[in-house]
Symmetry: C2
């Protein structure tokens, strides 16, 4: 990918600029992943940051502190600016002069959505499509593990039955859809990479309760890579943001997530580095 | 815009989620702004962050400390995680436990490009198109001033004559192009919002040397808003990243930048909130 100029490496490990061809592939995957929707529901495109207050409320820093990106800003005057410049000249990072921003980097796009919802979830449940950049601090030399990448998620908030049905519909639908792009995917029970000692228990619980599944493909025929997943959150986000179904109970939520750069990389690995020469049926499927 | 649901406000001032219709308008503007290119040159799509080392080298923190977004991450173990959680539970922001990340938020997309270029600039000069999210910490209730927004830039690095010609070609081209979208733009000499006392001198110098021009439109027929600009950087970036022309001299650089959300907002304000009902010639121009 790097040799072909599809991705341009930067001075930061795991951070790439995208060539026009790579970007076109990602956007084709994004449009395709959106088009798998079962009926008409709202789409949202999210900025790469979310409100700090919402982020802290989601408990992401408790479960995945090592992956998060926290933003600071400078709010001083001339004197503090001089102190900042002196600190930088001395090789410092200015942290003594900087203040927490109102925002942090998004870790998963659907997390930004729940705090903005009308907490009264309608009878039929609420579905929407959300797309945008996510940040994960896991610097790696492997382009499939980027620090900054895009996800498209089909989100459902509703009764437990509605949220479970969402997962049960999307899991095979994603596998079939990715298969129609010529990717040999398999469905695997999975867990999020919860941090630390307590995290290992949380991860085991999540796997045992079948809350997370991944769509896995062997990129370059060897390395198993998750290119999509479904997550059933039970009432995790509804407790935090008071999302309630008409029966007065806390809602449940779930999402079906497509990793857009990873799917593009899987396609480039499977069908070759020139999207114009991909098999006709794959190009037709991608629109 | 907010009432019509085109933009979804969040808990952070100046941070919005985009509806599908608004996003479609932004992407149409992005494709249109790219299509104004005079000949074929590479496109790059940039992630919303850039390497911290590159960012510090661009001197952005010296000139615009108040606009920047610096990223921190957690690199500790279980003990530091407990300290982080205790700090959060006590209402703290965890800053004593967090470390500087290898990345910061992008402030202007072309700044990310220069550090990645082969420093030997070819005879004919180097041109490319760069697009992506920028962050500016200037919280405002006015949707035209977003904290997180996209820019598309046509960038030139070459001899002083090539960089100046780039500006001289693009300034009328942008005005004419935006005019063909039905926007009444005027060209104004401008300056960047340099910070503090020293900054006021830098701003005056920049304006006097005619280095920056803005394409300004009255949104809602009243508020002058820059929706595009050209910047002639002289050798500012070439000194930092050793960009050299074949004659052995430092290169000069310049860019023509389109503010994608702002152009979309100007179009929505001028032609109405339903892009499907915009004048035929505007829709044809946007493709």
């Amino acid at each position: 990918m790097l040799d072909a100029g599809l991705l341009v490496p930067t001075a930061a490990t795991g951070l790439y600029q995208r060539s026009g061809d790579f970007e076109d592939a990602v956007r084709a995957v994004e449009a395709w992943a959106g088009s798998l929707r079962l009926d008409a529901y709202p789409r949202r495109s999210l900025p790469p940051i979310l409100p700090r207050a919402d982020f802290l409320q989601t408990d992401y820093l408790r479960s995945f502190p090592d992956l998060a990106g926290i933003v600071s800003v400078f709010t001083g005057g001339d004197a503090e600016h001089r102190a900042l410049l002196e600190d930088l000249d001395a090789g410092g990072n200015g942290s003594t002069v900087l203040e927490p921003a109102e925002t942090v980097l998004s870790s998963a796009v659907c997390h930004s959505v729940y705090p903005t919802l009308d907490p009264a979830i309608p009878d039929e449940g609420l579905r929407l499509e959300a797309s945008g950049f996510a940040f994960r601090h896991e610097p790696s030399l492997d382009p499939v593990r980027m620090q900054s990448f895009r996800m498209l998620e089909h989100v459902c908030v509703g009764t437990p039955a509605q949220a479970e049905a969402h997962r049960d519909v999307w899991l095979p639908r994603m596998a079939e859809g990715l298969g129609s792009l010529g990717l040999d995917v398999r469905i695997e029970a999975a867990n999020d990479p919860f941090f630390g000692r307590v995290g290992r228990m949380l991860a085991a619980n999540q796997q045992q309760a079948s809350l997370k599944h991944e769509l896995v493909v062997d990129i370059h025929d060897e390395k198993p890579t998750a290119i999509g997943s479904t997550n059933y959150h039970e009432d995790h986000f509804s407790v935090l943001f008071d999302l309630t179904t008409p029966d007065g109970n806390l809602a449940h939520s779930g999402c079906a997530a497509f990793g857009l750069e990873r799917i593009a990389l899987a396609l480039l690995s499977r069908h070759g580095l020139e999207p114009g020469h991909w098999p006709t049926e794959v190009r037709r499927e991608l629109g």
